[in-house]
């Protein structure tokens, strides 16, 4: 068995599993946020059980629309609050941060444990060794009641990494590159296992960025393994990390990827750094390094969204918030920010955005023809200063 199969076998209580088997797995955590929880709660109540499977392991987190941008958004919080009180489960409702970051900081699953969240980016926890499976509200409701998830064991594609990343190339550039080679559906229903000596290039935070966008490639589970090559997999792709350049996803697909250099010079109007993809301390450090002593271009709005209160605290302690503000950028409250087009920075058809988030579909951040380019925080910050898409490391010196 490969690492993904070993973890699933353990969760299913079986000695061995193989690709294609239907198994019922024990779940470590189940969670939902303000966009998915109201329907999950409705469905849970319809099941008609009087308790969740384990009140310490079912969580609700308000991250998508906080503070409420509409009465309806506020109603969702009340639905969650009532449910949390009734069933005695933890709720985060004061803008503590994005669900995947809160799970990492406060409810961290053990390696191999299953995390089931009603959110597609649940795969983020593969960066710290857990098996994250994104589901919809109904499946989350069933898991809240039963503590189990039925799934089919995926065939596994292994990406075996050698070499070292060049300067100004990050986890984000690597996962965008995987989009370039795999496209959006080659990995549908498959597991993506990342191994090899090259994984040492990536901190846990960077690994979370990589795994976060596994869902953009269609994968069911994305997981970092060890430096050893695994042999019991469907397919192995070897990648020499030293060959990668900074990458960018052009409108309107996260897999429409090229080198940043190929689109450098394109004028932009907004930059977003943050989200469950790139809103962690290391990402904010890149922004602060780039902006220190510089100004965001007058034609650009730059929005910086820490992924948690903890990240924001660090930014303040290190003086990064001041650097960002003095560069004429805006630090928003922790959460999902403008990533998915509900609040805090919607765009019109005239806008061209460089964002560190995970999706650039038509209308994702507002207007249908607004253009979104996805890139690393270093590329985003360099572009914000120049007012045009810029390869990090090529900015004019101070």
């Amino acid at each position: 068995m490969n690492l993904i199969e070993s973890h699933l076998a353990k969760a299913a209580g079986l000695d061995k599993v193989s690709a294609g088997m239907d198994v019922s797995c024990k779940v470590g955590y189940v969670a939902a946020h303000d966009v998915t929880a109201p329907i999950a709660i409705k469905q849970f109540r319809e099941i008609g059980v009087d308790k969740v499977f384990d009140p310490k392991r079912v969580l609700l987190i308000v991250d998508h629309i906080y503070p409420a941008a509409s009465e309806k958004a506020r109603d969702s919080v009340w639905i969650m609050d009532d449910f949390a009180r009734e069933f005695g489960i933890p709720i985060y409702k004061k803008g503590e941060g994005v669900i995947h970051q809160i799970m990492y900081e406060k409810h961290r699953a053990e390696p191999g444990e299953l995390v089931v969240i009603a959110d597609s980016h649940t795969c983020t926890c593969g960066g710290y060794g857990a098996i994250g499976i994104g589901v919809g509200s109904t499946e989350a409701a069933a898991a809240m009641a039963t503590g189990r998830l039925d799934l089919e064991v995926p065939a596994v594609v292994q990406v075996y990494l050698t070499g070292k990343l060049k300067e100004n190339v990050f986890g984000k550039d690597f996962i965008l590159y995987l989009g370039e080679i795999f496209g959006t559906d080659y990995l549908t229903d498959k597991g993506l296992l990342i191994t090899g000596p090259g994984i040492e290039c990536f901190s846990v935070a960077e690994r979370m960025t990589v795994c976060n966008m596994g869902t953009e490639l269609g994968s069911m589970i994305t997981l970092f393994g060890t430096e050893e090559k695994e042999m019991e997999v469907e397919e192995i792709r070897e990648i020499d990390l030293s060959t990668l350049n900074p990458k960018i996803a052009k409108p309107f697909s996260p897999a429409n990827v090229c080198d940043v250099a190929e689109v450098a010079g394109l004028p932009i109007t907004q930059v977003v750094v943050g989200s469950c993809t790139n809103g962690r301390i290391n990402d904010m450090e890149q922004v602060a390094l780039a902006l220190k002593g510089r100004q965001v271009h007058p034609g650009v709005n730059m929005l910086v969204v820490p992924s948690s209160k903890n990240v924001l605290n660090t930014m303040e302690e290190k003086g990064w918030c001041k650097i960002i503000r003095e560069a004429n950028a805006t630090v928003l409250n922790p959460g999902c920010g403008p990533c998915f087009g509900a609040h805090e920075g919607l765009i019109s058809n005239r806008d061209v955005v460089v964002s560190t988030t995970n999706r650039n579909f038509p209308g994702r951040m507002g207007a249908n023809k607004g253009q979104i380019y996805l890139a690393s925080p270093a590329t985003a910050a360099a572009s914000a200063i120049a007012g045009k898409i810029t390869v990090p490391g090529t900015e004019a010196s101070l």
Binding site: T36, G136, D189, T215
Partner: protein, 163 residues
């Protein structure tokens, strides 16, 4: 699961969940979601054209993106009876089945045009369309079982012995 017959909307590849149900509509109450089906693809004029029992026929990777269950719920509430696509994103496919909206894998978008009437037998694995018919893989017993219950929640209730 009976044979489904309906008029088709033909769509392309990579129809994402922001097109099916845009982010701004996600906080809408459950009962209102049908009013936003395909609102992220304004050129389609879906809401003015859709009739009960209509079928979307699409290319690869239908439903890619978000886990929002509001997407298949909106389609179902707008009256859609079935989605046939060359491929589905995993979470969308499971969500649709879990809420009782049938989805079926077959690559037929290329041979159909908007307004064609098709007949889909997902148990036998046959799709009949104006110019002929095509075989496709029948739905698995597991999926059929969930759809026959009307979705995952009634199925879980039955399995937990709640009447």
């Amino acid at each position: 699961m009976e044979v489904l017959k309906g008029r088709v909307f033909v769509l392309g590849d990579d129809v994402d969940t922001d097109q099916i149900l845009p982010g701004y509509a996600m906080a809408e109450p459950f009962e209102q979601l049908g009013k936003y089906a395909m609102a992220g693809a304004p050129g389609l004029d879906f809401l003015n054209r859709v009739q009960p029992g209509d079928i979307i026929v699409a290319g690869r990777n239908f439903g890619c993106g978000s886990s929002r269950e509001q997407a298949p719920i909106a389609l179902k509430m707008a009256g859609l009876g079935l989605v046939v696509a060359a491929g589905f994103a995993r979470i969308f496919r499971r969500n649709a089945i879990n809420i009782g909206l049938p989805v079926y894998v077959a690559d037929i978008a290329g041979v159909l045009k908007d307004g064609d009437i098709i007949e889909v037998d997902m148990v036998k694995g046959v799709i009949r369309y104006p110019e002929g018919q095509v075989a496709a893989k029948p739905l698995s017993d597991n999926v059929l079982k969930t759809l026959d219950y009307g979705g995952l929640i009634p199925r879980v209730r039955a399995e937990l012995g709640i009447s």
